[in-house]
Symmetry: C2
Subunit: 135 residues, 2 copies
DNA sequence: TTTTCACTTTAGAATTATTATAAACTAGAA
DNA sequence: TTCTAGTTTATAATAATTCTAAAGTGAAAA
């Protein structure tokens, strides 16, 4: 994803392309593979990557803005911290509790044959599969 | 589950049957259906049920002891608080984000036809399916 | 039955992740 | 260039959970 595209991405979702947002967006979206992170890990990596460091509140604000704009998704992982995901398409995860690492599974790589129907007046929004790993 | 069984359950897992543990165990395990709860909700319900209230730290200690003994499992749910589950068998969940409510799905009610193989030297420990609900 | 002590409970402090506040800053429209 | 709504920031506040260390207790042993 080129710099021009980063600006487009931000502008088209009503986010002013500030220095902070552009830096963070470049870090998050200029990559080939899915990136899973916590605010803490992102903050550490950003501080290492660029010389200036942003306020922690800015990382929180930005990540939440990106999520609200649909550029990030949130993954429910065992533990205290919130995990974010640059893959916003419907997909599943391996979870390695040894390393606290998430690995993407393409939606088409898991096929569910039988599924119960939703209870009383509710509908199924989506199905998330977690495959927990061991050594 | 009778009182005698509560004592057995505690003793056999190396937990001294103190007044607090017995009360909490009775509240959690003397029921037909699965019970999903947070420490906060359990504390509220216990305070209502029995006249005396226990220290919050005791609820935490007890719930963690029960989990370590295999009498409770932990369910990963979106949000800040930790959810516990009296159903310790392998099963899945509906999650209603409107009400923050979990509903059990028997393992046999979900059949997965296709599943990817675990990465590099890892093995699959277990598979958890979450069906998120909407209205 | 009494003694003893490792285990348990408890109140409160500490820690951790996250959110709120409010003052200073800035992108970009006018 | 000016103006202002949106943004960043340091810091305080909040919320869930864990830690601490003193007081209490179940039950093994005397
Ligand atoms: Mn979590
Ligand atoms: Mn959670
Ligand atoms: Zn992912
Ligand atoms: Zn359950």
């Amino acid at each position: 994803m080129k710099k021009i595209d980063i600006y487009k991405k931000l502008r088209s979702s009503g986010l002013r392309p500030t220095k902070q947002r552009v830096e963070i967006a470049k870090f998050l979206f200029e990559r080939e593979k899915t990136f899973h992170f916590t605010v803490e890990s992102l903050n550490k990596l950003l501080t290492k990557k660029i010389n200036s460091k942003f306020a922690l509140a800015t990382i929180y604000n930005t990540v939440h803005s990106f999520k609200a704009a649909g550029h990030l998704s949130e993954v429910e992982v065992r533990g205290n911290k919130t995990y974010f995901d640059t893959n916003v398409s419907n997909h599943h995860h391996f979870y390695d509790s040894e390393t606290s690492e998430l690995i993407d599974i393409d939606a088409s790589d898991i096929v569910i044959q039988k599924i119960p129907k939703a209870p009383n007046g509710k509908k199924i929004k989506n199905v998330e599969v977690f495959i927990n790993l061991k050594n």
